[in-house]
């Protein structure tokens, strides 16, 4: 039963989003820390790749459920999700400065804000889900 509750809600998906946002924040913090390091190149995780992997694995788990009822995510999906989370790439969008580094403060600050917004959205939705679950458990709206 519990598996069914977790799979039919978006808790798993939101947890993945939160994990991704935290991982990405670490990289963006590294970028800001190395603002003045000669030869440092901007690194980032691709949000698009992550969303794609997430979408694929949601689609796959839905298909699985239709065929055989609720079951755990198959391992292949988890792997592709993890790859999207761990594939750190160098960003080549900026012209190099004279010291060989290419960190654009404005760009990074924007990315951090966006990432934080994504994180707090996911957390808010997670809280809401938890609240709903709690209401169901307590059989009362006043949880």
């Amino acid at each position: 039963m519990w598996n069914g509750i977790l799979q039919n809600s978006s808790i798993e998906t939101l947890t993945e989003s939160v994990k991704f946002a935290e991982r990405r924040h670490q990289l963006l913090a590294s970028n800001i820390a190395n603002l003045d390091t000669p030869g440092y190149l901007t690194q980032d995780l691709s949000v698009d790749n992550f969303h794609e992997a997430l979408q694929d694995s949601i689609a796959a788990s839905k298909q699985n459920r239709n065929l055989t009822g609720p079951q755990d995510d198959d391992s292949a999906n988890n792997i592709s999700k993890q790859q999207a989370q761990q594939h750190v790439h160098k960003v080549y969008e900026q012209i190099l400065y004279h010291d060989g580094s290419d960190v654009s403060l404005e760009q990074q600050v924007t990315n951090i804000s966006k990432n934080q917004a994504m994180h707090s959205t996911a957390i808010s939705m997670l809280r809401h889900q938890m609240h709903t679950l709690q209401m169901a458990i307590a059989e009362s709206v006043n949880v």
């Binding site: 590294s30 820390a33 190395n34 003045d36």
Partner: protein, 139 residues
């Protein structure tokens, strides 16, 4: 999550070291002798940063001070024949060697260092916000 705080802290430490050398440069703008009392003007120092992979996770790079370099440029020569440290002979006879420190350069550098410091403090605030929010799921 707490590792990003370490990354930002490493940057704060490095930027402070940079600010320290800059204040040293400005403080010694007119220092004509070295610590042994020899007539050798102070020479500008500057820090060089390098990345510091914090050893645990891929992509997590802090920053550290690689070395402190001493500028090897020519000093400034001023014509001061009555000065006790005036050069006795040679091309710069009757001149006194002064440190060749450009105050504008130093101030711009200091400004950059303190802005970078602020930027890292900002990131730390965001990191704290993220951790707080994640922890709030428990409460």
């Amino acid at each position: 999550m707490f590792t990003s705080l370490d990354v930002s802290t490493s940057a704060l430490v490095a930027q402070r070291a940079r600010l320290n050398t800059i204040s040293g440069n400005i403080a010694n703008m007119t220092t004509l002798t070295n610590e042994k009392g020899e007539a050798k003007p102070y020479q500008e120092r500057f820090v060089v940063f390098k990345t510091d992979d914090m050893g645990q996770e891929k992509g997590l790079t802090g920053v550290q001070v690689d070395r402190i370099e001493i500028d090897q440029g020519e000093p400034l020569y001023r014509y001061q024949p009555d000065h006790p440290l005036a050069i006795k002979d040679g091309k710069w006879k009757d001149h006194v060697a002064y440190p060749n420190i450009n105050m504008n350069e130093q101030f711009v550098d200091a400004l950059e260092a303190s802005r970078a410091y602020e930027a890292n403090l900002g990131v730390m605030e965001v990191t704290k916000g993220i951790s707080r929010q994640t922890l709030s799921l428990l409460a």
